[in-house]
Symmetry: C2
């Protein structure tokens, strides 16, 4: 095999990323300490700097990896397959999926940190917005377009309606989690009830009476 060294490099790289994620999420960018990251990764500081140019570069990679991971997770679920089920079922499934994927301590910590660093690293906020909420909204808008065309949803701007729906579902839990910490994340059953209620409200405004 000609990959002995390469494997070692990849492994230490991953250990460092995992450690950095943990430390950064807990302490923020300025509060994090490169010695602590190296120690958490069980790696020498030198190795950290062999893999990553600087604290800032490491930080950006950690955030990019987490943001990308979350986007992929959202993308995998609910892959439009439900197009021929009733609107109510589709919306309910989307709402539950999103809540269960996003409302985790890890992603809420990521979000808190990105918001906190929005002044220093504005591109992170934009990236998280575009890879998170915006992706979901676009997907929902596409589905709503379909449901409008088959008469299960009133005529309306699908993107606006999708935006409304998205934040009806995500707004309350997200904001509570932002300000109250992980203990502000609602329980599974609360989230479930909240999702059903959001769908009910949305359909009573945008649904077609007949159905």
């Amino acid at each position: 095999m000609s990959n002995g060294a390469a494997t070692r490099v990849r492994r230490s790289r991953e250990k460092i990323l995992a450690a950095a994620e943990q430390v950064f999420l807990h302490s923020g960018f300025l509060g994090a300490n490169m010695d602590a990251i190296a120690e958490t990764a069980s790696v020498s500081k030198q190795t950290v700097y062999a893999r990553f140019q600087s604290k800032e570069a490491l930080f950006l990679e950690v955030i990019a990896a987490m943001t990308g991971g979350a986007a992929r997770a959202i993308g995998e679920h609910t892959e439009d397959a439900l197009d021929d089920s009733p609107v109510r079922d589709y919306l309910t499934a989307v709402a539950l999926d999103q809540l269960s994927i996003v409302m985790t301590p890890r992603l809420m910590q990521l979000r808190r940190m990105v918001i906190g660093e929005a002044e220093r690293f504005p591109e992170l906020g934009r990236s998280l917005y575009e890879n998170g909420p915006l992706v979901s909204i676009r997907r929902i808008a596409r589905a709503l377009g379909h449901y409008i065309s088959i008469g299960q949803i009133r005529e309306c701007d699908p993107h606006l309606a999708a935006t409304q729906f998205n934040w009806m579902v995500m707004g309350a839990p997200t904001n509570a989690a932002m300000l109250l910490g992980d203990s502000g994340i609602p329980s599974q059953s609360e989230l479930h009830a909240h999702a059903l209620e959001a769908v009910r409200i949305f359909l009573s405004a945008y649904g077609v009476p007949s159905t």
Copy 2:
């Protein structure tokens, strides 16, 4: 007069608080620099430490003052006086008021900072939550209770309904502003349209058909 010195003390105190607000909002707790605060306040560092025990104490006072100020601003408006106007008018007024008070760069920066420091200073997040959203929700819940009793709103849990309404109004703009920075704050006309639509949706779900 026996207040010469006292006046001076109060004035320098206010200059320091104003400067600290500016610097902290821009750089966060760790990123802020006490020398910069003193210089911005046109005051010597010594004076800063004569008024405030430490960086942390100053930070906490700044946040407390801003949080309290915002809470007061929300409290002053919409002082329940609208109890005998139609629900639609009341909800519209509340929504517009809240958006215009809260969706300002200054309060959005405060919110970003509190979220970013949620790990270090959890009590700030709780305080902002209780003095902000929770106050509004309670007020709306009280009003909804009234409207339920006079038959303009369906039977329901007023607190839950108020929570839904609050986040339908505030969720989308707030979250955009958190991740996208001040440029993510919607324009006045967008906010206006958004408020009207939120009221429409809410009433189609919770309103009484007759009216």
